[in-house]
Each structure stands twice: as structure tokens, then as C-alpha cells.
């Protein structure tokens, strides 16, 4: 089981929702604070995981939308997921 190998949140981690196109990094934590999305934090966390956003996965922002650089297209390991920046705020990356 993987109960104990959660990567500790490092000081250098920042929300993916603030990163720019071309950013590459690894996911440190899925940590919805509540309020960033219309979903409850527990539900947002589950949906992000179901789309492959788990700690340790490699992410890269491939594309940004035309207006307000939103939404973003994110490469997660080998798949591409589109999501809005507000939900991406729950993904902490470094």
C-alpha cells in the first residue's frame, strides 16, 4: 500500500492554476481549500484524481485559452486534460 509515501508539501510548491504555458513540474499534493470551485473540496479532489492528477505525476501546461489564459490544457503523464484555472488551484506543483 501507498499510505505512507505521500510526498511532503515542500515550501517551493505553488498552485498549478497560477502557472503559465510551458510550465513543467510534478504534483506535490491535491489539496482543495474549498471555495475555488463550485464543487465541495472532497468531490473536487476525487474528480481530479479520476482524471489522473495524483501526487508524483508529471504535468506540463501545453495550451492556454484566449481569454484570461483560461482554460488550460495540461499533459498529465501521457494524457491531455482540459480544465479551468480555478479548479487547477487545488493542484499543488513544484
Amino acid at each position: 500500500m501507498y499510505l505512507f509515501d505521500q510526498v511532503p508539501e515542500s515550501a517551493a510548491s505553488a498552485p498549478l492554476g497560477q502557472a503559465r504555458q510551458g510550465f513543467r513540474g510534478r504534483i506535490q499534493a491535491i489539496a482543495p481549500a474549498g471555495g475555488e470551485s463550485s464543487l465541495l473540496p472532497a468531490e473536487l479532489e476525487r474528480r481530479l484524481i479520476e482524471l489522473g492528477f495524483v501526487e508524483g505525476a508529471a504535468v506540463e501546461i501545453l495550451h492556454e485559452g484566449a481569454f484570461g489564459r483560461d482554460p488550460i490544457a495540461v499533459r498529465v503523464n501521457h494524457a491531455t486534460i482540459a480544465l479551468r484555472r480555478r479548479e487547477a488551484m487545488a493542484i499543488l506543483v513544484s
Binding site: 474528480r47 481530479l48 495524483v54 505525476a57 495550451h63 484566449a66 479548479e87
Partner: protein, 625 residues
């Protein structure tokens, strides 16, 4: 297993874009049935197959999902069917989990979740040919050992690409006969999902070697197609080409069909003795049904574009590009796909809103979908534009008729965005907007066979409708326009004495303020059944009124009888009018309430009346009356 027929029940489960439907088509061929699950409009596709070993299997294709944790009506069906909770369905004996071999990560997590259900599972690695071409190396034996379920590769779209799969089903017969384990499935928590995804990732590391570089073609295409400026420009250009194509490419074939029906009418005219029967067959049946069938080429071209874009994987990109723009109007990016389908027909469009998991978003999309210019409006628009708008080049590039058509489409889009904007700020201001999360699949070349199958299904549906609903309506219109017959020695045209004239004159006072003639009023009544029927009805009314020469060229007759203001008012009316009984019925079914059907009908009728009124009076004021 069904003990009376000896048939095993197999459910196809998989993530979206896994090629599940292609596999279903390959396995069951023509032996499939499409219906709905009782009470909901989720499409239920079933088929049958026979393995080389003589195993008879009934296959059901379930909606795609990332997890059994259902979030939309579609996914609820998948969950309940897999868990045997649907009263109408037998519990499956076998789960066939379909995965895209080029994108296994999320699919493997789904397999781990499905294992908890306790049923035998077969994992099918679909599109293995594309994966090999891209340099993805899969150790099937290692994957099977790590997952603890049998794994088989397949190429759904190639002949013989499912032979291994069928052979494997025969090998599983022992497992099928053994008593099933109890289901220990429960909606997974975040921690369970996380653990399962890590386990899936660990299996991937052991069994799959991905190429160092991701699919370069998709990356390079996306660099242009998802570019903030170029991407949007390409999307708009694509839509524009689509409408020009619908209007100009179809013309030669339409002329051919039209002259074919004229010829048929002339034959009937020559063979049958003058009288009621001749009038019925010539004016009622041939000119009525013919005037609708003529639009088959346009509808097929529109569907061809939509099917190609869907198969290519572009639709999800379009949703990405449009998310912010649609969000400004209170719509979800995912609403783009249903709304685009509504250009063909609002019915599949409204049914496609099931992919929107948020109730409020889904309802807004359903409310505005009928405003998108569906293919049934094309006959009406074409007729009036051809009669009243001169075909002359504009800026040397475009055709004025094409531009007016584009303008009508644009008016539909703008009004749909406007209505959803008002709905958002009037009714749902307090609710925050739900998330937009969507996988962007790799581009894949559309398969001619599946596109043709899709086109064929649409053509069939349209012709069946022309042969039933529209035919019945035409008989009614002919009857109303022919009886009672004109008295002997009557001077006015025969139709002036008919029931149609009475009805038309009775409701004419309501429609006179918007510039409609009583003949339009008559045509609008059967036009409630389906928009294109109005064209056929006008054809019947004017051909009975004007005799043989009028039937051939309805457009000419209209140009002589209507003012430009009336024609423009009718175009404006048709942008909004809720003239489609089937759409209203689908809204009632999808929302589960008469209330939303009434709301849709009411607001569209009000907009239609207001738009036609304004158009008519402005046109008259400008001297077009």
C-alpha cells in the same frame, strides 16, 4: 446466464474515447438493436455474437465513464447496469473493459475499481495497431499477471481484429460457469482512488514502455488548433466553410432530385384522369413529399462535417476553445458539442446534453438548443432566400445568398447565447459555475466505414420521417386545401372555398401584424409538426391555388405574391419559432417536466412574434412593403 436461451450477458465498459462503440460494432455487426433504457433517454445498444467455440453472448454497450461513481445520468446507467441494479436488465455475467492502448493510465484504474464488483473481467486493449505504430510497447502477459484479469489486444476497425478476443471468451467459459464473488464495490473515497491510481501507475511501469516523445502529430496540430488566436480563427473558418458547403455543394444533387420529382409529377399528370385522384397524387403526395426529400443532400453534408470532426477528436478541442466565450453567456464549455449537433437537429443535440453533469447547465443548454439553426430550417431558408435574395457576388469572394444564410445562422447563435445569458442572470445568479474538465484525446483519422454507417443512419431516419410524419401532414394539408370543393361557376381560385382558407383566415388576424398572408397562416399549422413541412404545405396550397405551372416553381410564385417585408418577417419568425413537435416532446422527456417544455415553447413563440413584427415594420418603413 439466461437459462432458457443459454446466452451469456456481457457488458462493455470503458473510459470515454476508448473506441468502445467501434468494438461493439465489430463484435456484433448488423445484429444490434438501439433503444432507450426505460424511463430515461440514455441510449441502450445491444447486440449478439457467437464465439468460434459456440458460446452465444448478448453484448450491451454502456456509456463511457472514468469511475462507477456516477455523476451524470449517463454514468448512472453504467453503474446500475454493472451492479445489476437496473430492474429491466439482467445482471451481466462478464464485464468487458475496453481501453485505448495509447492511453491506458485511467483505464487501468477503472479496471482495478471494476474488480471490486466481483464479476469476471476481460480487459481489451483496443487500437493496438496505433499504439504499436507510435512505439508503445505493451507486455500483455505481465499486465495480465499484475492486474489479475485476462488481457487481450484488438483492432476493432480491422477485419479479423477481434479474433483473439473471441477465442479468449471461449477460454473463459470455466470462469463464467463458476459462482461469482460477492460485490464489495462502494463509491471510492479520495484515498482509495489515489491508492488505485498509484497501483495502476505501478502496473504501467512494469508492463508498458511508452515512447520517449508523446504523439508528435497531435502536439504539432494542437500548437495551431488550440492557439488562442489561430485556433479560434480556424474554428470560425471551419463553421463558415461548413455552411457554404451545405448551401453550394448540395445544389447540383438537389436540382437532380427536384427535376426527378417534377418528371414523376408530369407522368402522373399524364396517366391519371383529371380530378381528385390526380390532384391528390400530384399535388398532395409527389410535390409535398418531394419538396422535403430534396433537402436530403444538405442534411447529409452537415452530418458529414459533424461526424468527421467527432471522429477526428476535434470536438473536445472546440469545447476547450469555446469554454470561456460560452461561460460569458452562462453556458458550460461542454455545451458546445450538444449545441453544434443542434445545427443538424435539436433532438440529438438535446439528448447529447446528458454529458453535462450539472443540472442547471444541462437545463440552460436544453432551453437554447432549439435556437440553433437545425437542418429542418434549411428548406425554409433556402426557398425564401432563393426567391427574394439575388445571387450576386459580394467582395468577389462570397455569394450574397450564402451570406444571408450565414447571417441567419449567426442570428440563431447570438440569440441562443443571449437567452442563456438572461437565464443565468435572471434565474441562477446565486449559483457558482460548475467545473469544466475534459480529456483531449489524441487525433485519429476518421474511419470511412464508421462515418458512412453514421450517415446512413441519419439518411434513414430522415427518409422515414419524410415517409411517415411529413407524408401524413401532406395528406391533411391537401385535404384541407381541396375540400369543400369550389361550387360550379366559381370565379375565384378553388382554394378560396376550402377549409384551409377558412382556418387561414381565422388565424390571419393574429399574424397579419407581422406581415403574414393567410396562406402562410395555413402552412404554419402543419409546420408545427416539423419546420420543413411548412415548405411542402406552401407548395401544396399554392399549387392547388395556381395549378400546374405554380407547382414547378414555388419560389417564383412566392416572389410574385409576397412583399420583401413579408419574406424577411417569415425568415425572422423561423429563427425563433418553436415549430417542432418532436423537439418539444424530447424536452419534456429529458427534463422530466411539462413546465420546461411550456417555458421553451412560450419564450420561443414570443421571440418569434417580436422578431417578425420588428422585421416587418422596419422593412415596410424602409420601403420594402
Amino acid at each position: 446466464m439466461n437459462s432458457t436461451t443459454g446466452t451469456w450477458n456481457c457488458a462493455l465498459v470503458g473510459t470515454p474515447n476508448s473506441g468502445k462503440t467501434a468494438l461493439f460494432n465489430a463484435l456484433t455487426g448488423s445484429r444490434q438493436k438501439v433503444a432507450n433504457y426505460p424511463g430515461v433517454t440514455v441510449e441502450r445498444k445491444t447486440g449478439a455474437l457467437m464465439t468460434p467455440g459456440g458460446l452465444s453472448v448478448a453484448v450491451v454497450d454502456l456509456p463511457g465513464t472514468y469511475s462507477l461513481r456516477a455523476r451524470s445520468p449517463d454514468e448512472e446507467i453504467t453503474r446500475d447496469a454493472v451492479l445489476g441494479r437496473l430492474k429491466s436488465e439482467t445482471t451481466p455475467d462478464l464485464l468487458m473493459c475496453v481501453a485505448d492502448s495509447t492511453n491506458l493510465r485511467l483505464a487501468l484504474r477503472l479496471v482495478l475499481e471494476l474488480k471490486r464488483v466481483g464479476l469476471p473481467i476481460l480487459l481489451v486493449l483496443n487500437m493496438i495497431d496505433i499504439a504499436r505504430k507510435r512505439g508503445v510497447e505493451i507486455d500483455v502477459a505481465a499486465m495480465s499477471a499484475a492486474l489479475g484479469v485476462p488481457v487481450v489486444t484488438a483492432v476493432a476497425i480491422r477485419k479479423g481484429g477481434t479474433m483473439d478476443l473471441l477465442a479468449r471468451l471461449d477460454a473463459m467459459v470455466g470462469e463464467l460457469r463458476a459462482p461469482h464473488r460477492e460485490s464489495v464495490w462502494n463509491a471510492p473515497t479520495a484515498a482509495e482512488l489515489r491508492a488505485a491510481q498509484r497501483e495502476a501507475d505501478a502496473i504501467l511501469r512494469v508492463a508498458v514502455k511508452m515512447p520517449a516523445k508523446p504523439d508528435t502529430l497531435t502536439t504539432r496540430l494542437d500548437a495551431v488548433l488550440l492557439h488562442p488566436v489561430a485556433g479560434l480563427a480556424i474554428l470560425l473558418a471551419l463553421l463558415f466553410v461548413m455552411f457554404q458547403a451545405v448551401f453550394s455543394w448540395a445544389q447540383p444533387i438537389m436540382d437532380l432530385i427536384s427535376s426527378g420529382f417534377d418528371w414523376l409529377g408530369a407522368q402522373v399528370h399524364a396517366v391519371l384522369p383529371p380530378g381528385l385522384l390526380q390532384s391528390f397524387v400530384e399535388n398532395g403526395v409527389i410535390s409535398g413529399v418531394g419538396s422535403v426529400i430534396v433537402f436530403l443532400p444538405q442534411i447529409l453534408i452537415l452530418f458529414l462535417f459533424i461526424l468527421l470532426l467527432e471522429d477526428l477528436g476535434y470536438m473536445a478541442r472546440a469545447a476547450f476553445l469555446m469554454d470561456r466565450i460560452m461561460g460569458g453567456a452562462g453556458l458550460h464549455g461542454r455545451a458546445f458539442i450538444p449545441l453544434l449537433s443542434s445545427f443538424a437537429c435539436a433532438i440529438p443535440g438535446i439528448m447529447a446534453t446528458r454529458v453535462i453533469d450539472n443540472k442547471r447547465d444541462r437545463l440552460t443548454t436544453i432551453l437554447v438548443a432549439p435556437l440553433m439553426t437545425c437542418s429542418a430550417r434549411i428548406p425554409v431558408y433556402t426557398l425564401i432566400i432563393a426567391a427574394f435574395v439575388p445571387a450576386r457576388p459580394v467582395w468577389g469572394l462570397f455569394d450574397l445568398q450564402g451570406l444571408v444564410m450565414f447571417g441567419l445562422y449567426a442570428a440563431g447563435i447570438v440569440s441562443a447565447l443571449g437567452v442563456s445569458f438572461v437565464a443565468k442572470y435572471a434565474f441562477w445568479r446565486a449559483e457558482p459555475s460548475p467545473p469544466f474538465m475534459l480529456e483531449l484525446p489524441d487525433y485519429k483519422l476518421p474511419r470511412p466505414k464508421s462515418v458512412l454507417l453514421g450517415l446512413f443512419a441519419r439518411a434513414k431516419a430522415f427518409l422515414v420521417r419524410a415517409g411517415t410524419t411529413i407524408f401524413a401532414m401532406m395528406m391533411l394539408v391537401w385535404f384541407l386545401a381541396s375540400f369543400p370543393q369550389a361550387p360550379a361557376g366559381a370565379t375565384a381560385p378553388a382554394i378560396d372555398y376550402s377549409l384551409a382558407a377558412m382556418i387561414g383566415r381565422a388565424i390571419h388576424p393574429l399574424l397579419a401584424p407581422v406581415g403574414f398572408t393567410w396562406q402562410i397562416s395555413v402552412a404554419l399549422i402543419p409546420g408545427m409538426a416539423a419546420r420543413e413541412v411548412a415548405v411542402a404545405a406552401l407548395g401544396t396550397v399554392y399549387s392547388i391555388q395556381g395549378g400546374k405551372e405554380a407547382a414547378g416553381a414555388i419560389g417564383h410564385v412566392l416572389a410574385g405574391q409576397w412583399s420583401l417585408a413579408t419574406a424577411l418577417a417569415l425568415l425572422a419568425w423561423y429563427i425563433f419559432a418553436p415549430q417542432c413537435a418532436s423537439t418539444l416532446a424530447v424536452i419534456r422527456r429529458e427534463t422530466g417536466s411539462w413546465k420546461w417544455m411550456a417555458v421553451t415553447f412560450g419564450y420561443m413563440l414570443a421571440l418569434a412574434y417580436a422578431a417578425a413584427f420588428a422585421t416587418y415594420h422596419i422593412a415596410v418603413a424602409l420601403g420594402a412593403g
